[in-house]
């Protein structure tokens, strides 16, 4: 199959993720959107590795997965803590750290 299709799919997924991050207020949804962006990047890496016939892209995808897993642990912990104290998962309400 044409690898460009994979790249197009990755671009679509990334755009949807970015859009979610920017427009949604719920922290969990924003978080999921970030995950979607990461996986879109993974898809791009893997398809690129397939096209060039090397393993570099696949290794990069594994790295992204590991980092994403770690990020999920820290990010969810923060979201849970914020929800406990404020009874809300809206990221617009947690805006005290500013000028």
């Amino acid at each position: 199959m044409n690898p460009n299709n994979y790249l197009a799919l990755a671009a679509i997924l990334f755009t949807i993720g970015a859009f979610g991050v920017l427009v949604r207020r719920n922290a969990i949804i924003v978080f999921m959107s970030v995950e979607m962006m990461l996986n879109a990047a993974n898809l791009a890496f893997v398809s690129a590795a397939h096209t060039t016939g090397t393993l570099d892209g696949q290794i990069a995808a594994f790295f992204v997965m590991v980092v994403a897993a770690a990020e999920v642990v820290v990010g969810l912990a923060i979201i849970v803590t914020i929800f406990r104290t404020r009874r809300s998962a809206s990221i617009d309400e947690a805006s005290l750290l500013k000028y």
């Binding site: 920017l22 427009v23 924003v30 750290l97 000028y99």
Partner: protein, 620 residues
Amino acid sequence: MTAALIGLPLFGAAVLLLGGRRTNAWGHFLAVLMSASSFFVGVALFTQMIGRPTESRAVHQHLFDWISVGSFKVPFDLQVDQLSMVFVLLITGVGTLIHIYSIGYMEHDENRRRFFAYLNLFVAAMLLLVLADNYLLLYVGWEGVGLASYLLISFYQHKPSAAAAGKKAFVVNRVGDVGLSIAVMLMVTTFGTVTFSGVASAAGSATHSQITWIGLALLLAACGKSAQFPLQSWLLDAMEGPTPVSALIHAATMVTAGVYLITRAHAIFDLSSTARTAVVTIGAITLLMGAYIGTAKDDIKKGLAGSTMSQIGYMILAAGLGPVGYVFAIFHLLTHGLFKAGLFLGAGSVMHGMHDDVNMRHYGALRTSLKITYVTFGLGYLAILGVPPFAGFWSKDEIIRVAFEQNFWIGMCTLIGAGVTAFYMTRMMAMTFFGEARWEKGVHPHESPLVMTAPMMILAIGSVFGGLLLKFVGNIEGWLEPVTGFGVGQNGGIAGKVLMPATLGVIALGAFYGWTKYGRRPVPVVAPSDVSIFTRAARADVYGDALNEAVFMRPGQYLTRALVWFDSKAVDGTIGALSAAIGGLSARGRRIQNGYARSYALSMLGGAVLIAFVLLLVRL
């Protein structure tokens, strides 16, 4: 031995200043003791000096090397020669008498210890000035006496006028000191040495203009210290200090330092007739100006200050006449030191009896209640007039004679000065001791205690016999010959024979006029205001202060104001505007940190898109 002369009073000053209040009880006795022992050391050195033959009388004492840079060396050396010796005796002798007098005069002053500390400091500095054997060390003493003078003029520091007078004296003296420092620097570049002997022997090899410039710079220095025109304005204000200070510093010793400097640097002045002419001109102007100011002053101390200016004018003039004049300049300096100190102490005694009132229009008829003061002041009066055989006659008459021998018009200046001196001194005498009593209410004049009158009596004896002793017993002309390079004055033929009666006639005329104006007629208690323009000018010190204010002070003030304006507006303004701009910009910039995570995300995305876009552009 020589170092002890300076060391003793310096030690006294150090003990009194560092010891603080603990020395209050006995401080003044220590100061008197130190000054007196310095005098006795001086007498001992003097007897030793007499015992030696003329050519080996000058003694050097090497203390240590002060400055040693390559081939340029300035030793810390003291030198006692015949000229220094007479100064040492005058400074320590009159100084000790005034120390004793001050015990009584300053008795009720709570800062008496500080006063005596400063007096001792002054004596030490003045001795360093006259004992130094090079110009740089002389400069140290020169500044030292300037400091002591400043501290003592503004001694009553709670009085704004005294504080201002001290500052004025300090600033005006600085102008003169610039002259001395320039002279020293010129000596270093021209001769490579600053010792008296080195400069004297090298002077012949320098060019005429170099010598003239050094001479003029030295003259500027002498003008500052000796209150000569155009730097005379500080001396009249210096009378704000306690009266013993006026007697010691501003009449007998420090103000004569300029005469000493010119005499000491005679090797320079001998070679430059231009510099000598300048010296004579300055002396003639000041002697007339001081006498003129003295005629209109109602303040007894300011009258005497004008007189001091005038008498130092005589000395400077004599010193400017060249080798024939030096010896008479020094001679007059010595006799003046005796009688003027006596007159000032007499004025202090009158003030002491009159509740510190200095206005002579409030005096009158004091000859009965202040008998001792009257007699001692009267003897000083006869001495300053130059009535034979009192001290002033021998010295002043010689100056007038030498001046006439040099130039008729200079001679006329000195002769007129003598007449005016007789006038204002008679006026002072008549207003203070004669006429009817014009005392303020509640003033009961009383004679001062013995501790004050004794020094006055000794100085009065000096005013009577000082001239005779110095001329005939001391043979001052022969004594100073090795220093000034001029022998016993040959008696000036016909001029001398006609001149003495003429001088005495002028003096008698001045005194007679003063007596008819102030002795026979009653003196108004309030100074008359409908007076001629000449009287008004004399009352305003010939507008010396107004001139200084218009020419130096105002433009200086405008300049500093303009600089302050430029600094605050232009320099500070630029920096201030820059910082305000940065501050405002950052205040706006930090609003970006609004706390909304999604807004940060948008920034990141925007940045990433921008970078991607740029990369694409570069690729394409």
